[in-house]
């Protein structure tokens, strides 16, 4: 929404503020000004001059030398403009002044162009005569401008006076961000009302007198509304003996100031009233309306209609149409039809000011693929009581502008009348809610300024129908607050019962995950929750892999963002690939993010959101570095049992010989492995990459921050080394399991210290050596204690077919 300052001042005559003051104060009272443009910011020292004499330039065929009376003096100006003649009154920028741009539209220069006196081909020229473009506007907005050349004023312009003022360029245009609850502020009058209240000035809205001749409009037109739910009111008036012509300059200027191109008096009046009252109107050529009858009804499915921009459009059965006795003549609230549009030959015109259902217009506008100024206003939900006021205002302007003869009366189809809302008022409660001590009388004063009245008997505030955002006390509190000033409300802190500030246990575990990952060199990444269904093929998942059961977005941004992820790896691999492509070395990333697992498809309840701790890396490090991160993490969150690793993880996207499920307490809590080279290829990662995924809900359940101190050993430890040769098929994990099972109560720890395959070891075998440590916490171990445990271990190892090297 835009308005010019001068248009606001038309209804708040005493308003005397700078653009910045206006901006600040309006913003603080709730009508946010996004910004403003001073139309004359680059126009300086530009007056009206009359060309008294034109002579040819002695040395240039295309130049002329003009003597221009600029009021106090006559100056000589050389120009190349083709359109001026003696006696013309023109804008003249004097020596030292500034203009906004060059000849052509869109040639505005930041800061403007300074004009100095000088010589053109040897002849003195003092100043410059200006085109409308040089003054920062366009022929579109000033239709009386010549196609090419100097702007020429009408004869009543006075030499020496400001040309900027005469053109209405001494103005400021404000752009507002109007919130959706304040539909009334999508109009100049609505904003002016707020401005008057904000600055404490009188609000003087236009006075609309009764219009029309002695004829009865009912003799010209009948109106029937079939869908009253979609059209709560339909007002129609008729204007005959139309004289199409340009509208007056004041109207053109106001329209131009808010970016609306003046066309002719009829179009300009409808646009003017739409801006002024916020009520869109439409004009039909009554002679094209069959049966002189208007029927408001929904379209047939597939109905075709040509709008006045010449486009054929297809409707469905929810789109509301304006029809005559035979055919559709307009899409309600969106655009009229080509078949009934006003032409220069129009004789009799039907004015429509209606109130359509906002939601329906919004949806129809989308279906039809056409959003207009009118639909933009209607879709916000207008006040039906405004329609009559607006159509009367339009007819008044028709009479004032001499654009035609208004027929008496209005056809008004208005079912259930919208009544003002009465809101119970309680000053104490408002003060309690705001934390203020504002006297009741002051509150009532604020209400009065914005057109709310007060019924002292029932203690109710009566909100006019244009304010359809006021229903309860809290709404009134906001009205009080914004005029009292949000700034003036004190600042306190909530009192009352103390509460414990804390993070949930789950969030605390996630914090540890972040810390550990970062200690281990991994940086935190973030990727989207939605991705392409193609990722499953990229990850080589089987056709029937359960991960392919996904939550799908009905209206995604595109297929690439159409499913909620069920595995967290795609984001990680994509990020690794991004880094790889950018030649970043040694990349380690982690992410904490949800996957979304549907409980049933189609979805009937919310999917399960499972937090995944995903790690990925390439460069320095290998499978076992990754494994180290997981074990550090488990240790830090109190998972003190030994985790085990099952190489049969069955992950297609991982290297078949370098993958494992991570098992804790008998449960799979995650997996890790080297990315399968085919998958790495799919993502474009040209190095060995490793990933690990921890399913956080599983570990959060087992985690604990409880710690119990165990005494530091006082007695010496005894170590034994064993060296073995075993089939490669046997995992060291199995050896460790045997050591643990058979090590007895003195077993303290064991450590792999040598692993060798190759020469001297027979094919298919490996050499493995462990150092096993025993300790008692109540005595120094005897040789016999250790020997007994070692015997058990060795026996069990041999039973597995492991050869012991003495």
């Amino acid at each position: 929404m835009n308005t010019s300052l001068s248009w606001i001042k038309a209804y708040v005559p005493d308003l005397n503020v700078t653009a910045q003051e206006y901006t600040d104060a309006m913003t603080l009272s709730g009508t946010k000004v996004e910004g403003y443009v001073e139309l004359d910011k680059d126009l300086e020292n530009i007056v009206i001059g009359q060309i008294e004499k034109i002579e040819k330039h002695p040395d240039a065929d295309k130049l002329i030398v003009c003597q221009v009376n600029v009021g106090p003096e006559t100056v000589q100006i050389v120009t190349g403009a083709p359109n001026v003649k003696e006696g013309d009154k023109v804008p003249v920028v004097l020596d030292g002044g500034r203009v906004a741009g060059g000849h052509e539209p869109g040639q505005k220069v930041a800061g403007g162009i300074k004009i100095k006196k000088g010589k053109l081909r040897g002849v003195d020229s003092c100043g410059m005569m200006c085109s409308i473009e040089e003054l920062g506007s366009t022929k579109e907005m000033y239709p009386e401008s010549p196609d090419n050349g100097i702007y020429i004023f009408e004869d009543d312009a006075v030499e020496g006076e400001s040309a900027v003022k005469a053109l209405g360029l001494d103005d400021v245009v404000f752009e507002y961000e109007v919130t959706s609850n304040r539909v009334d502020c999508y109009s100049v009058i609505g904003i002016a009302r707020e401005a008057a209240a904000t600055f404490g000035k009188e609000f003087v809205p236009p006075v609309v007198k009764e219009t029309g001749n002695t004829e009865d409009v009912n003799d010209y037109i009948k109106v029937r509304v079939e869908n009253a739910d979609l059209c709560s009111r339909y007002c129609a008036r008729v204007v005959k003996n139309i004289k199409v012509g340009p509208s007056p300059k004041w109207m053109q200027r106001r329209l131009a100031s808010v970016g609306i191109r003046p066309i002719n008096n009829l179009v300009d009046i409808t646009n003017y009233v739409m801006e002024e009252y916020g009520q869109p109107m439409h004009a039909y050529d009554l002679d094209t309306i069959a049966g002189h009858q208007i029927v408001v009804r929904t379209a047939e499915k597939g109905e075709k209609f040509v709008t006045l921009d010449g486009q054929e459009r297809e409707m469905d059965e929810t789109v509301l149409m304006i029809c005559d006795g035979e055919k559709a003549v307009g899409i309600a609230g969106i655009m009229g039809g080509e078949n009934s549009m006003i032409t220069d030959d129009v004789k009799t015109m039907l004015f429509e000011a209606a109130c359509f259902d906002g939601t329906n217009i919004r949806k129809s506008s989308k279906k039809v693929g056409l959003r207009t100024d009118a639909s933009g206003k209607f879709e916000k939900g207008l006040d039906p009581n405004n329609a009559q006021a607006a159509i009367d205002r339009a007819c008044q302007l028709v009479e004032e502008l001499g654009a035609g003869e208004v027929v008496g009366g209005t056809v008004d189809v208005y079912g259930k009348k919208k009544e003002p809302v009465r809101v119970p008022f309680d000053a104490d409660k408002i003060n309690a809610l705001l934390g203020t001590h504002i006297p009741e009388a002051e509150m009532l004063g604020y209400f009065e300024k914005i057109g709310l009245s007060y019924d002292a008997e029932s203690k109710e505030v009566i909100a006019p129908t244009f304010r359809h955002d006021l229903f309860c006390l809290a709404d009134l509190a906001e009205e009080v607050a914004r005029f009292y000033g949000y700034d003036n409300i004190p600042t306190t802190l909530p009192r009352g019962e103390a509460t414990t500030g804390k993070l949930s246990f789950k969030l605390r575990i996630e914090e540890v995950a972040r810390d550990i990952a970062e200690f281990c060199g991994f940086s935190q990444g973030m990727t989207y929750s939605f991705e392409s269904p193609k990722v499953f093929d990229k990850l080589l998942l089987d056709k029937d892999d359960p991960a392919r059961q996904t939550v799908q977005i009905m209206n995604p941004l595109g297929e690439d963002y159409s499913i909620m992820r069920t595995v967290s790896l795609n984001g990680m691999l994509t990020s690794l690939a991004t880094n790889y492509n950018r030649r970043n070395k040694n990349v380690r990333l982690y992410e904490l993010g949800n996957i979304y697992l549907p409980k049933a498809l189609p979805l009937t309840e919310l999917p399960e959101e499972r937090m995944q701790f995903t790690l990925g890396m390439y460069g320095d490090g290998d499978f076992f570095s990754m494994k180290g991160v997981i074990e550090e993490f488990f240790e830090k969150i109190g998972l003190r049992e030994k985790e085990t690793y099952d190489p049969k993880a069955g992950k297609n996207f991982l290297h078949p010989g370098r993958q494992a499920n991570i098992i804790y307490g008998g449960k799979v809590v995650g997996y890790l492995g080297e990315v399968h080279p085919a998958v790495a290829d799919n993502y474009g990662i040209g190095e060995r990459a490793y990933v690990a995924v921890i399913d956080m809900p599983e570990v959060v359940e087992l985690a604990t921050f409880d710690r119990k101190y165990k005494g530091i050993a006082k007695y010496p430890a005894v170590s034994r080394d064993i060296s073995m040769v075993m089939s490669k098929e046997i995992l060291v994990g199995q050896v460790e399991e045997i050591i643990e099972k058979n090590g007895g109560s003195y077993l303290e720890s064991y450590q792999l210290f040598d692993l060798y395959e190759g020469e001297q070891i027979k094919e298919g075998f490996k050499s493995v050596a462990y150092s096993i440590t025993f300790r008692a916490n109540d005595k120094t171990l005897e040789e016999a204690d250790v020997t007994a445990a070692m015997t058990n271990i060795l026996t069990a190892l041999e039973a597995m077919g492991i050869e012991l090297r003495k």
Partner: protein, 339 residues
């Protein structure tokens, strides 16, 4: 005897002085003081001394031993000190050679900003809670006073899974969920991922984060909201920060406000960063709408409250002067390493 001891002592001193390394000192010790050393030999010769003389001679021997030991010890200390001195001189390093860094990872700027916000509110007694990212329409819209035909529900803004389920467009549904639990008073913040149907560009992302705040108690006022957010802004952006509350509209709060803070780059004078205004918009807030309280089972006559919502990315972008939102989701290590 006395002379003999004196000459032993002198010989020992001579030899000590002639020693250049600790090993040689040790040889001297053995030679004079050892089991087969010269002083021991003197003691062994005591049997030839008259019994009445013995104590005197014994004393003399001990004195001589002590004297030699002292000199030995002294010399040894000096010698070791000289050796250490020499070693230290030889071990001078160039301290400007490059450091050997451990590879340490970096936290995402979003999360750094989030942790700051959490720290502030946890300190004020707020609990950090979470809610589902895939959410019922009812919580995301209806219970927040956003009725069925509200434009905010348009498909152009909201990702729909089906008619009843959406990707939450705000963290505000967590408000409704926490209120419904009915444990009062409430002081909570709810950070999390939210989704809007925006194409990706420098200032938009279809997936971003918000932090919702909610306080419900008896006698909570707009002044409390102002005070709380003022503390928050000062904590987050520095003690000089000022706040400005502007009227605004949200369906689930009334009165509502948008909050600007003084530009932390120019301090409010106006610069390129704040587009010359001196202020930067950081959040939306308001008093919880009585209808929302009612829908969530809280009596608006007894309880009031306030709510606020902060865009996490907005805070992170502002605080760390990141000029393109896409950087936050690319995970380029050169970007992440800067935080």
């Amino acid at each position: 005897m006395k002379e003999k001891l004196q000459s032993i002592k002198e010989e020992a001193i001579r030899q000590i002085e002639a020693s250049d390394v600790p090993e040689k000192l040790n040889d001297v010790r053995v030679k004079f003081l050892g089991k087969k050393g010269e002083l021991t030999a003197v003691l062994k010769g005591m049997k030839d001394v008259a019994p009445e003389e013995r104590p005197k001679v014994g004393q003399l021997v001990n004195e001589t031993r002590a004297a030699i030991e002292e000199i030995l010890e002294d010399t040894k200390k000096k010698m070791e000190a000289a050796i250490r001195e020499g070693r230290l001189k030889a071990e001078v390093i160039d301290v400007t050679l490059p450091a050997k860094k451990n590879m340490v990872g970096h936290r995402h700027p979003n999360i750094i900003a989030l942790e700051e916000v959490e720290r502030i509110f946890v300190g004020m007694g707020y609990e950090v809670v979470e809610g589902p990212e895939v959410e019922y329409d009812m919580y995301n819209f209806e219970k927040l006073n956003i009725p069925a035909d509200h434009p905010a529900k348009d498909e152009q803004d909201t990702f729909y899974i089906n008619k009843e389920i959406v990707l939450r467009t705000q963290t505000s549904p967590v408000q409704a969920r926490v209120m419904e639990e009915g444990k009062l008073p409430i002081r909570m913040i709810a950070p999390g991922r939210v989704f809007r149907s925006d194409e990706v560009d420098a200032t938009h992302s279809p997936s971003f984060h918000q932090i919702e705040g909610l306080v419900i108690d008896k006698n909570i006022s707009f002044a409390d909201l102002k005070g709380t957010l003022e503390v928050f802004a000062k904590e987050l952006f520095g003690p000089e920060t000022k706040t400005k509350f502007r009227p605004h509209h949200f369906p689930f709060t009334e009165p509502s406000a948008e909050v600007d803070v003084t530009c932390f780059k120019c301090g409010g004078k106006g610069c390129r960063f704040c587009k010359g205004s001196g202020w930067i918009e950081i959040l939306g807030c308001g008093m919880v709408h009585p209808h929302v309280l009612e829908m969530c089972g809280i009596d608006p006559e007894e309880y009031t409250g306030f709510a606020f919502g902060v865009g996490l990315e907005r805070i992170a972008l502002l605080k760390y002067e990141i000029d393109d939102m896409r950087l936050l989701y690319e995970n380029d290590i050169r970007f992440l390493k800067q935080f």
